[in-house]
Symmetry: C2
Subunit: 421 residues, 2 copies
């Protein structure tokens, strides 16, 4: 494709999306729900096509030397395709976030004002590897009556196009325009640039989902609003008044349940007055297969702890590695999180309600937790049904982003002839 | 100032603002309320200084040949200064939007999740002419516990600095850092460019307030999120089932109460089946001093109506000029608003509940009104106490923006030892 052709192609996607967004804005709850259910049916019917397309991507990925972790994220099998279809049905079953009233009040002059949820319009989604994001993103956008333009990673292009074909078949069978969900059918890198420029004012919001490199590029270059999930440099602070058994169970889960997810704890902050717990905590973590990297104080207490560098405390390991720092008190824990955290998810373990209240109020993260695992940082665990990511910024939406966060609102003002004095 | 010096100067403002934002985030409701009240006191005490500074601006503005309307917006007198102080006290009296709980729910595993309002951080405010915006913006940002960096128009620089000096005296007397409210003390145009670039990641949100030129530049160049108020090309649609007296009273108010505000109606859409009302409506509007510009059908009905061009229907007149178009039916009115509107405020006048419901659902504007004047598009009229503008985008906040819309939120997750299965 020449550059001019690419621009035309991308802008046509934008125009189609705007037209589809206008249709979706006025489509009934039933129509949108039926379309998501039909998408699930079509994904099941297309299973063989999807697996065949995925095999091509896996072959190319292996030839290109993708890492084992990358290949695992890319790989689909029967179970994963059926899980994708089940995920679509779970989103279909959620309450409709559009048209619901947040608030209604009446003014002294008799005007009644209702704040009603509306769609945003056109959402551009830019993501990497996991092909199931194609179905997840499409269903959450459709649930919230937004049109979407999807651009997955080039390594998953065959899988994504096969999934998209099934989704479009679902849209058609439910009588909604195909352009409600469009996939960028070219792997040219400049296609992303066009999306970030907004396709001539036709994209209302960009959501990147992937590694730090991708998200950073999107944040730097986008000329339209971005709902970004940067990284989760999360802390669990074990306060002096923590219950030791609870502390052990939580820290092992917070790091080791799935070390590679963004809600995983990367650093344990252990209160100096609870340092006697360290051997017991270290043993439980090491038994679970975790490498420990600690400051000098932690190493003195448990010699099997490796040294932690300054870089470690700034790193989202996404692996079975936990940083450990001994802190003087709650204030020192707060100061560490302020400097090294990423405003994602941080937890305190304590039986002391005052300390917990202070921690929850003072830590400026999207999710702050008392006496539970940071691995609960997840839209499904929050009851949102599904999530499109966890927003680490402070504009529009923060924390797990579900269908209800992909909406805007309008005010309906109901009068009986009022004129303003 | 050299360019390097300007960059240093601006980045220092950004650093100070971040530090102040951290203090503000943890300041109590009382501290912030007291500071706003103290600012009101100091504005009253500084009245003579403020008026003397304003006289300089007025003199320079007159010499520069500013229009009468511009000079009127720039001018301060005793009444306006006292109104500014009263406005500060009104904001002080509003409920605190920070720390309030939007929602709280408990999950089947016993985790309780509370969604709690938090500040955004640092807000950059770029505005024109009216010096009272300096006090309004500072008070709304302080109310929502955000630090702000203010940059007013160069024509009002002496007035703004005098007002800012009074505000800072108020902050100091209440024990809050001066940097909670900073004013860009240089009229160099590049200072705005630095703000739009985000001062090295230190500005969280930019709010422009002014004409289309300013807002357009900010939207085009900003590398940080923008809460923009573009223009109000607002419509009042008189449906065939409108009560004629109500229709007349509303349209006269909607255009003529204050033709120059953004909630003013710019175009009357009159249903063909109600066209017999036109002579009566035209007479009332013309008696109130309004120029009418209509399509051919309207001119045929009332010969004193001037012809309207295509451009008129695309123009926010902000003056005593009203466009008139005869439309076939509700669908035609909706289609006109879709093409010519600006998603700000649109109204329908009808006794027909079905038509009203359809209009309110289908018009995609921040404010949609049934049987009342579009001049109610105002934060004060909504009960928000004061507004920093009316947002016409669909991200973060839409419609009148009060202190509660200058907040973000975080999730507090309260457990008793939960680990994720």
């Amino acid at each position: 494709m020449t550059i001019e052709n690419l621009q035309d192609y991308m802008h046509t996607l934008g125009q189609n999306a705007c037209t589809a967004a206008n249709t979706l804005r006025l489509a009934s709850t039933e129509q949108r729900t039926d379309a998501i259910k039909a998408m699930a049916t079509q994904v099941r019917l297309a299973q063989q096509n999807i697996l065949a397309a995925n095999a091509k991507d896996m072959q190319a990925g292996t030839a290109k030397g993708l890492s084992g972790a990358m290949l695992d994220r890319l790989k689909l099998d029967e179970t994963r395709v059926l899980a994708m279809a089940d995920g679509l049905e779970a989103v279909a079953a959620l309450p409709d976030p559009v048209g619901s009233e947040d608030e209604r009040w009446t003014r002294p002059n008799g005007l009644t004002i209702a704040k009603v949820r509306t769609p945003i319009g056109v959402i551009g989604m830019i993501y990497e590897s996991r092909p199931n994001v194609t179905a997840d993103a499409a269903s959450l956008c459709l649930k919230s009556a937004n049109a979407c333009i999807l651009r997955g990673g080039s390594e998953a292009v065959h899988s994504n196009i096969a999934i998209h074909t099934a989704l479009v078949a679902g849209l058609k069978s439910a009588g909604l325009p195909e352009s409600c969900v469009q996939y960028v059918g070219t792997t040219e890198r400049d296609a992303v640039g066009h999306m970030l420029a907004g396709l001539g004012g036709r994209i209302d919001l960009i959501i990147p989902r992937g590694g730090k490199g991708l998200v950073g590029r999107v944040q730097k270059d986008a000329r339209v609003p971005v709902l970004a999930h940067l990284e989760g440099r999360n802390h669990t602070y074990i306060h002096k008044d923590a219950n030791p058994d609870m502390a052990r169970d939580i820290i092992v889960n917070a790091k080791m349940r799935r070390p590679g997810i963004c809600g995983s704890t990367e650093t344990l902050l252990l209160d100096k007055n609870a340092e006697s717990m360290l051997p017991m905590l270290a043993e439980a973590l090491q038994t679970a297969g975790c490498e420990l990297r600690g400051d000098a104080a932690a190493q003195n207490l448990v010699p099997s702890i490796n040294p932690a560098s300054e870089t470690d405390f700034m790193t989202e390991h996404l692996d079975a590695i936990l940083n450990i720092k001994i802190v003087d008190d709650l204030a020192a824990a707060l100061a560490h999180i302020e400097t090294y955290g990423s405003n994602h998810t941080d937890a305190i373990i304590t039986e002391n309600q005052g300390a917990a209240t202070e921690f929850l109020a003072k830590v400026d993260s999207a999710i702050v937790i008392h006496n539970a695992s940071t691995q609960y940082a997840d839209g499904g665990e929050f009851g949102f049904g599904a999530e499109i990511g966890i927003a680490t910024g402070r504009l529009h939406a923060r924390g797990p982003v579900g269908a209800q966060h992909l909406t805007s609102y309008k005010y309906q003002v109901l009068g009986n002839g009022q004129v303003r004095p």
